[in-house]
Symmetry: C2
Subunit: 302 residues, 2 copies
């Protein structure tokens, strides 16, 4: 086992940060490292937090991390961010609130930036979660900004997923809910002191009563005011109840199926040189060749 792996297993922060960067940049060494560490993973609770912008996810994660620490456990936070070419990297935004953990080595925080890649952040995010798991973090929060497909996919890969909603989201709340409904282990109505909390609660209950529950679990609805620390303990209890019911285990198998597919896709893509893809793109844009034949040829060759 490499020295870096040993240090990570021992909880060395500098080694952890170094490995995290390696994973985020998809360096080839990352895979060897993760292969070594894999046997030491599977203990942590990977907790996905998702929901629409403005729902207060970062504040909720901040409060949950404080709770975890107060119980004597350690935490990891992975914040999945869109990247701006203007800021040149991950966005701070309301993540700044997480600075309340800045001096606590028991909370390891890392932002993952999308960098505009087609294909997604899911592999790097989940590799980073495995790393934190191997490093002995008890609870790993994976927070996604937005409610798009990429975010839903990342949340789906977690052991337990908390979907955070807020009252008064307007007409599109139906649309938002639909995409994330199926992945929710627990619903949180944050900012529940705002008008419309009862209405949202009723709407969620109505949707849940119509839902087909393949695993016998009805997601509980927990009300919070995260900015004031209200309802935080109840969220954690609901999460643990999901896990204690053994549901996280089945979900893990399903999630590994998705991840293996994603890893395979990522690996395959490395086989065709970038310059060749660019040249093909020009030929296709000029209608000199059709894309289906090009891809067919590539597959035959690889």
């Amino acid at each position: 086992m490499s020295e870096l792996s040993q240090k990570i297993l021992a909880g060395n922060l500098r080694a952890l940060a170094q490995a995290a960067t390696c994973i985020e940049n998809r360096q080839p060494e990352a895979e060897d490292l993760l292969r070594e560490l894999f046997q030491h993973t599977g203990r942590a609770l990977i907790l996905g937090i998702t929901g629409p912008p403005g729902a207060g996810k970062s504040t909720l994660v901040d409060r949950l991390a404080h709770l975890i620490r107060a119980e004597g456990h350690t935490a990891g936070v992975i914040a999945v961010d869109p990247t701006s070419p203007f800021s040149g990297g991950a966005i701070l935004g309301d993540r700044i609130r997480m600075l309340s953990h800045y001096e606590d080595a028991g909370v390891f925080i890392r932002s993952m930036a999308t960098r505009g890649r087609l294909g997604g952040l899911a592999p790097a995010t989940m590799d980073l979660a495995l790393l934190l798991d191997a490093a002995g973090r008890d609870v790993i929060f994976v927070e996604t900004v937005g409610v798009g497909q990429g975010e839903v996919e990342i949340a789906r890969l977690a052991d337990v997923t908390v979907v955070v909603l807020v009252p008064g989201m307007g007409d599109d709340v139906q649309t938002l809910k639909a995409g994330i409904m199926e992945i929710a282990s627990v619903f949180v109505i944050n900012k529940s002191d705002l008008p419309g909390a009862d209405k949202l609660d009723d709407e969620l209950k109505a949707m849940l009563s119509l839902a087909h529950k393949s695993n016998g679990w009805t997601p509980p609805i927990v009300r919070t005011v995260a900015s004031e620390g209200r309802g935080i303990g109840e969220v954690m209890s609901a999460v643990r109840s999901y896990r204690q019911n053994g549901l996280a285990g089945n979900r893990k198998i399903e999630s590994w199926g998705l991840r293996l597919r994603e890893m395979l896709r990522e690996k395959m893509l490395e086989r065709i040189p970038g310059a060749e893809i660019e040249a093909a793109a020009e030929a296709v844009a000029a209608r000199q060749r059709d894309p289906y034949s090009i891809v067919h040829d590539w597959i035959k060759r690889v």
Copy 2:
């Protein structure tokens, strides 16, 4: 050339609908069809419309489609939707407004549902756009709900992308804007009669003044009240100005590079039987094998 292709090229609506379903379901015939039709594509303007939920994208698309029709052109609308297991398919939501085109054969409307697939909707969406292009549609709107990575990717594949924002989106507007800033050809401030339109306009201008413009284009900011039909012509002028500057062409090459990568990934994945992936997922979840070695073996075999 197949009979179906001929009918599509002739603008037959039934053939178009049949082919669209074929593409959406990723049936193998779809690829043969698209290979035949590919030479007849490249004429349409593919117009991506994206932005946060509640920004009024559907209403804007509806109005733009009316404008296109009034000019004597035909339109296609592809709405990319998250799928709900509750509704069992694509969501209606505010798409219901598009019913104003229900009896107009000059506007072909299709919703694409995510179906919870890892890997994305981009290939099917862009194949559907190619189909509509071959069928002679002049302008093809690709509208994405949400602001996540998947949505940004789809918007990026369009010739021209309109990013729709609204005043008063709250704290997260910075985050929203960051992810979609780089793909905008044109910004629309919709619901611009609401308070905060000037502030949003100023913020956008400030961000744009800091931006690195690799193609010399500064995205114009157009104010609309789509529900009242205000500013619609200005949006279309801005879009056409982007295209007339020849910028859509460069973008097409870049977009084909992304699409070829995505097509390759999708094809590769078809090579490993689903049952084998599921069995591997169980072994990984039980820590009997590590996922990196499994994927390595698969690649060696394919």
